[in-house]
Amino acid sequence: MSTKNTFIIILFLLSSSFACKQIEPSGPEEENILNGPIEELTSAERILHLKGDAAFAQSFNSETGLGPLFVATSCQSCHSSDGKGHPFTTLIRFGQWDSTGNHYIDKGAPQLQNRAIPGYLPEELPTGISYTKLIAPAVTGLGYIDAVSDADILNLADPNDANGDGISGVVNWISIPNYVIPRTDAIQNTNGKYIGRFGKKSAAYDLLMQTSLAYNQDMGIVSANEAIDTYTKLESEPEINLQTLFETVFYLRTLKVPPVRNADEKEVVEGKQLFMNAGCASCHKQELKTGNSSIEALSNKSFFPYTDMLLHDMGNGLDDGYTEGSAKTYEWRTPALWGLGLTPKSQGGNYFLMHDGRAKSIQEAILLHGGEATKSISNFSNLNDADRLKLLKFLENL
């Protein structure tokens, strides 16, 4: 072969190689994904975030502690792409109908472990018991929710509807397990109970409690925090160490806020105004503020979750006859609306909204609201088609 041809071939191979680097597929646009860390984290915090990411992605099997009774095999199974869950991993809870506590602990309550590793049989619901289905929430932005002060939450509450707007948000007063350290600004009621803020009924005090319970109840993974095996009902050797648990919690605390899209678009701006005018923002508060946080990036920040973190009467249609803490069976915590438009990206292209995923669209979810939301729903229903679409477009932009 001539020198010229040799040179051409070498040049071709080299240029192909370097050109390929340029044509490698790019990732999805940042505004279209839920996962990723808060930008302002320090290097050490980013390293910890990555460790937590790995822990969050870890799938368990029978050799690594799964079950023997369980619902899901990993955190990601329920929170795919850190977004809302799919009905495949819906949780079922039962056994409590008032603030006197759960009466079916010996029957496997509060959570049904409806799957089992081979050789074991899963739990079954006791006959005739009322229960609720809970679809996993998105986990993005949880660090901000966690960093809101108790005082701010309590200030939003209006248990006796003093302002007469028909909205009477209340907090869920809960007992906390020994391993949870109350916040420095924690507020207790006269019974020594604390303000819950995570979970559909606000029954978890902080992300450590929520995560420890999820490992135990959802995956059957015993930790030093939640040491009772869901199958034997006995204290067992930890299947996950506290370091890993801490890293998972840190990961959840440092996930970014879900991005908004098209916020400046005319229809979205008008839709937002219609959302406010309809009274939706009475519960779905646009803005909250964080207090001091051990993570500097979370300290004293304004953020826009569209929730008041309070429990509200949602009417008979959403009363499943099950509750937690001091919440009533018909009360549900206002879910944050941020990330709503990205929900199909974690639910397989579909919407499974409301606490149990029964709503297959945003509009259906709105119309399922009852109780304190009745007036707002009426306002929404009275909108003409064009305005209704604008309001929906605003929600999809979140």
């Binding site: 072969m1 099997n61 050799e63 795919s80 397989g348």
Partner: protein, 410 residues
């Protein structure tokens, strides 16, 4: 364990080197047999280039693969990676007329994974009746037996072959095989009983039904996980002019259903069916090779659909020689263009909760250019693009990039 392998390898090299110090002319290269177009995939085990020394009945061989790559997944890349993927050593011996032995020892990613992939005695009673015993390669599909790197135009092994079937899959076992020629036709059969899979195929780190998870159980070369044999059978038929077509089955009980005589579960089966073919199109001289497999696993209904009851997938390689002549001083060198198409669905079925499709699949395309200095040595430039979808069918992750490497028998 690694030390034992290293000592063995050292001996393999010291032994011939003793000869070479005496007289290097005693070495004799036995090339791949390309004289017969009637070779079948079943022949791949022995149809490799070997180095014979002196009048010793022992022959040595092997191949080596190395490459560099730049791949990104969803826009995130680990940069340029250099990889020493595979060093495989063969030792073969004709013990007596019609009794032979071959072993294949493989080092993957340096010494990260060392495995004795094949070590079996073959006794020929008749061309149609051969006994093979030892560590055998289960003949499911074609790739599992015919997987030597230098034979392929692609650096990565096919996804379906490695993650579905799962190449390279070998077990301790016994079996029979045979071949028959008649005019333009060749026929072969293989039938083996061996140790096999275990519970890991539905309880593993992959978080999906994964036959390859059982490869981590190295005890399978010593004992069956449940006392039940894995049955593997294959028949192949080839027309010299057209193609070779293979049909294979592998199946048995995978789970540990009994401990100390006490039943702890029912017997649960795994059944794998595969079709493979290869052909060179007349006139165009385009070489096609591919296989498709179906996997059926009895997963307990009370377990999780995360682990699929059915899987399927396959690949098709299209290889076209575009230049055949002396290049860089290599006589009869060939430049090929090629393309691999792949698809694997790790979980065929629908969610009980919604009735919606369980996704969890991958589709991939890999255009390639290869430069063969001979049949033994190939330089490969591969491009990759694949879309992998999770269980729920969320937006797929997009993987892409290039690989450049070489693979050669020695």
């Amino acid at each position: 364990m690694k030390n034992i392998y290293l000592i063995l390898i050292s001996n393999l090299f010291l032994f011939p080197s003793a000869f070479s110090q005496n007289d290097s002319s005693l070495f004799k290269q036995i090339p791949i047999d390309t004289s017969s177009k009637m070779n079948l995939n079943v022949d791949a085990i022995y149809n490799r280039p070997f180095l014979n020394f002196g009048k010793s009945p022992v022959t040595l061989g092997g191949y080596f693969e190395t490459n560099f790559q730049h791949i990104s997944n969803n826009g995130i890349t680990e940069g340029l990676q250099f990889q020493a993927r595979r060093l495989t050593l063969f030792v073969a011996s004709s013990i007596r007329n019609r009794i032979k032995f071959l072993c294949e020892l493989e080092f993957e990613d340096g010494t990260k994974e060392i495995s004795l992939e094949f070590a079996a005695l073959d006794v020929e009673f008749n061309p149609l009746l051969n006994l093979r015993a030892g560590i055998i390669l289960n003949p499911i599909g074609a790739f599992n037996q015919n997987h030597d790197g230098p034979k392929w135009e692609f650096i990565d092994r096919p996804i379906s072959a490695t993650q579905l079937l799962p190449a390279t899959w070998s077990n301790a076992g016994f079996g029979l095989y045979g071949k028959k020629y008649s005019g333009k036709w060749a026929f072969s059969y293989e039938l083996y009983l061996s140790n096999g899979f275990d519970d890991k195929i539905i309880s593993n780190e992959s978080n999906r039904t994964d036959l390859s998870a059982s490869k981590k159980n190295t005890a399978r070369f010593e004992e069956s996980s449940n006392g039940e044999p894995l049955y593997t059978g294959k028949i192949s038929i080839k027309n010299k002019k057209y193609a070779e077509l293979g049909f294979s089955y592998m199946g048995g009980v995978y789970n540990k259903f009994e401990i100390d005589g006490l039943a702890i579960d029912k017997k649960r089966g795994v059944h794998v069916f595969a079709i493979d073919f290869n052909s060179t199109l007349p006139k165009l001289n385009t070489y096609l090779v591919g296989e498709w497999a179906w996997v059926f696993v009895d997963v307990p209904k009370t377990y999780t659909q995360q682990y699929g009851r059915q899987q399927q997938g396959g690949f098709l390689d299209i290889v076209q020689a575009i230049i055949k002549r002396k290049i860089f001083g290599f006589d009869n060198a060939v430049i090929n263009i090629a393309c691999r198409l792949e698809y694997v669905d790790w979980n065929v079925g629908n969610f009980n909760e919604t009735g919606g499709n369980i996704a969890e699949n991958i589709v991939s395309i890999s255009p390639a250019i290869s430069f063969r200095t001979s049949l033994q040595t190939v330089f490969r430039l591969n491009f990759k693009r694949s879309l992998q979808t999770d269980l729920f069918g969320n937006p797929p992750s997009l993987l892409g990039g290039f690989q450049f490497g070489l693979s050669s028998y020695f």
